[in-house]
C-alpha cells in the first residue's frame, strides 16, 4: 500500500481519533493515524475512566441521548476490543453515585436533576435521590457529613489506560497505519486529495481527513473551513495505594479501579497549557474524599497527576463537517472515554457515509457563531 492510497487520515491518536479510526477500519477503510510523540499533552492518558451518564445534557438534551447510546453500546464495544486484542478494559456498568456533603449541595443536586429531566425532548432515565441512610446500604463506611446523593444505574467505569492500549492494538491489528512523532503542521488540498504536511516527515495524502487532535483542533480546523474552538481545562487526580476491593460502584469523584487503586478526582481549573499539579487542589480533593470515607485518611497517596481536558465553550461535543472541503470532518469532546463506543460504532459509520445525519446535527459548531459574533464587539 502506498501513502496516497489512504482513504482516511486521522489527525490525533487520542481516544477520540483512535475510536473513530477503529470504526473506520471495521468499515474496511484504509486509515492512517498521525500523532505526536510520547510527551504530548494528551487527555486520553490522564483521565478518570468513568463511563458516565447521570447529570449530562443540561441545555442540550441530545447530548444525554448520545451519551446514553454510547453507554448502551459499551458492552458490545468492550467485547469487540477483547476479541480483537485480548485486552479486557475492565468495563463495569453497575451504576454510580454522586455524593452530597451538605444540605445545600443536596438541594442543588435535586434541583439540577429535576431541571435536566423536564427539558423538552429529554430521553428520560432514572436518577434516584438517596438519603444518607439509603447510601449506607451501598457504602457502610460513609462519613457523618454525607447528607445523601444520587444514583443512576447507567453509570460505570473502566480502566482508561487499558482502553487506550486496546484501541492502539485493535486499530493496527485491523490494518491502520500509526505514525507517532508526525504532528500535522498544515493541511491543504491537491485536486481530489488532502495533503497533510507533517513536521520532520513526509507529507501524507488521503481522500478524506478527520481532525481529532484534541487541543490542536482549534488551530487546525480553520485550515479546512471548520470550527472547533476548544480550550484546555485542567483536572488533577490523586492516586492512593492499592486496597482490597471496598467500593462496588464508582462515585463521580472517587472510584476504585479493577486493580484496587483508589482514584480521587474531578477538579476543574483554567490553567492554560500547564498540566502540573498543586497542593491546594490536592488538599481539596483529599478533603472531600475523606469526608466521604473517613477511613481513607489513613490510606497513602502514591502519586498525583494533572491533565488537560479538551473543552468546548458550552462543554458539549463538537462534530463538524466542512462544507467547502468535502471529505473533511472534525470531532472533539470532553468525555472521550464515555463516548468511545458511540464514536466507533455510531459516528464512524456516519463519517464513512459522508454525512453526519440528524442525530449529530445538534453538535455542529454553528451553535457558537452567534455567541462569537457578539463577543467580537466586546
Amino acid at each position: 500500500m502506498t501513502d496516497d492510497a489512504f482513504d482516511f487520515a486521522i489527525v490525533g491518536g487520542g481516544l477520540v481519533g483512535l475510536a473513530i479510526a477503529y470504526g473506520l477500519v471495521r468499515g474496511n477503510q484504509r486509515v492512517v493515524i498521525l500523532d505526536e510523540g510520547d510527551n504530548a499533552l494528551r487527555a486520553s492518558r490522564g483521565n478518570f475512566g468513568l463511563v458516565w451518564v447521570q447529570g449530562k445534557g443540561q441545555g442540550l438534551p441530545a447530548y444525554s441521548s448520545w451519551t446514553q447510546l454510547s453507554a448502551r453500546l459499551w458492552p458490545e464495544f468492550a467485547q469487540m476490543l477483547r476479541d480483537d486484542t485480548g485486552v479486557d478494559v475492565a468495563l463495569e456498568q453497575k451504576g454510580g453515585f454522586q455524593i452530597c456533603l451538605s444540605e445545600a449541595e443536596m438541594r442543588v443536586r435535586v434541583d439540577a436533576v429535576r431541571q435536566l429531566m423536564i427539558q423538552p425532548g429529554f430521553e428520560t432515565y432514572e436518577i434516584r435521590t438517596l438519603d444518607r441512610h439509603q447510601l449506607q446500604g451501598y457504602y457502610p463506611g460513609i462519613g457523618p457529613g454525607v447528607v445523601g446523593g444520587s444514583y443512576s444505574a447507567l453509570d460505570g467505569h473502566l480502566n482508561p489506560l487499558k482502553l487506550f492500549w486496546a484501541l492502539h492494538l485493535a486499530t493496527q491489528e485491523r490494518g491502520a497505519a500509526y505514525r507517532p512523532n508526525a504532528p500535522v503542521t498544515r493541511i491543504t488540498r491537491d485536486a481530489s486529495r488532502f495533503v497533510l504536511a507533517c513536521k520532520e516527515s513526509k507529507a501524507v495524502l488521503a481522500q478524506r481527513v478527520v481532525l481529532a487532535a484534541g487541543l490542536d483542533n482549534a488551530r487546525l480546523a480553520p485550515m479546512l473551513d471548520m470550527d472547533l474552538p476548544v480550550r484546555p481545562q485542567r483536572g488533577q487526580i490523586l492516586v492512593l495505594e492499592r486496597l482490597r476491593r471496598f467500593m462496588d460502584r464508582p462515585i463521580v469523584n472517587l472510584r476504585q479501579t479493577d486493580e484496587g487503586t483508589v482514584l480521587i478526582g474531578d477538579s476543574q481549573e483554567e490553567a492554560g497549557l500547564d498540566d502540573r499539579t498543586s497542593t491546594t487542589i490536592a488538599a481539596t480533593l483529599a478533603d472531600r474524599a475523606v469526608r466521604t470515607f473517613p477511613v481513607l485518611a489513613n490510606a497513602r497517596v502514591v502519586r498525583t497527576w494533572g491533565a488537560l481536558r479538551v473543552m468546548s465553550p458550552d462543554g458539549f461535543p463538537i462534530y463538524d463537517r466542512s462544507r467547502t472541503q468535502p471529505g473533511a470532518f472534525g470531532a472533539t469532546c470532553h468525555s472521550g472515554v464515555t463516548l468511545a463506543a458511540a464514536h466507533a460504532l455510531a459516528l464512524a459509520p456516519r463519517v464513512i457515509a459522508g454525512d453526519l445525519g440528524d442525530m449529530l446535527a445538534p453538535f455542529a459548531p454553528a451553535r457558537f457563531q452567534s455567541a462569537r459574533r457578539s463577543m467580537e464587539y466586546v
Binding site: G141, G143, E241, R242, L243, R244, F246, E259, G260, A286, V290, P294, V295, L296, A297, N298, A299, R300, V302
Partner: protein
C-alpha cells in the same frame, strides 16, 4: 543470599511477622530483611507475584512492607528501631487494615 561484608556490631531487637529477631542498628528495614534471608517482602496486589527490595534507594517501590501497623512503607527508606514491628505484605491492604493503622498511631480516622 546476602551476606554481611562486616560482622554485626550493634544488634537490636525487632519483630518480623511477630517473630523476634536481631538486626543491625543503622540498617534500613529492607537491608535488615535481606540480611535475614527474607528476599521477598511482599506479594503484588494484582497477580500475587513475589517482590523484594531492588533499588535500595527509594525509587522502585518494590520493598513495600508494613511497619508498626502501617502498610505500604518503603523498607529501604526507614531505619530499624528497637521494638519495631515489621510485617511482610500479602496482596492488597484491606480498608480495615488501614483503619487499624489509624488506631495504632493514635489518630482517629477522619482527622487528617
Amino acid at each position: 543470599m546476602f551476606r554481611r561484608a562486616c560482622p554485626s556490631r550493634h544488634l537490636i531487637q525487632v519483630t518480623v511477622d511477630a517473630e523476634t529477631v536481631n538486626v543491625e542498628a543503622g540498617d534500613t528495614v529492607a537491608a535488615a530483611l535481606l540480611a535475614l534471608g527474607k528476599d521477598a517482602c511482599r506479594t503484588t496486589p494484582v497477580t500475587g507475584s513475589p517482590r523484594g527490595p531492588y533499588c535500595m534507594m527509594g525509587v522502585c517501590f518494590d520493598c513495600l512492607v508494613r511497619i508498626d501497623g502501617k502498610a505500604n512503607q518503603q523498607g529501604c527508606m526507614v531505619l530499624v528501631k528497637p521494638g519495631m514491628r515489621i510485617e511482610l505484605q500479602h496482596g492488597a491492604n484491606a480498608l480495615v487494615d488501614v483503619l487499624s493503622a489509624g488506631r495504632v498511631r493514635g489518630t482517629s480516622p477522619g482527622n487528617c
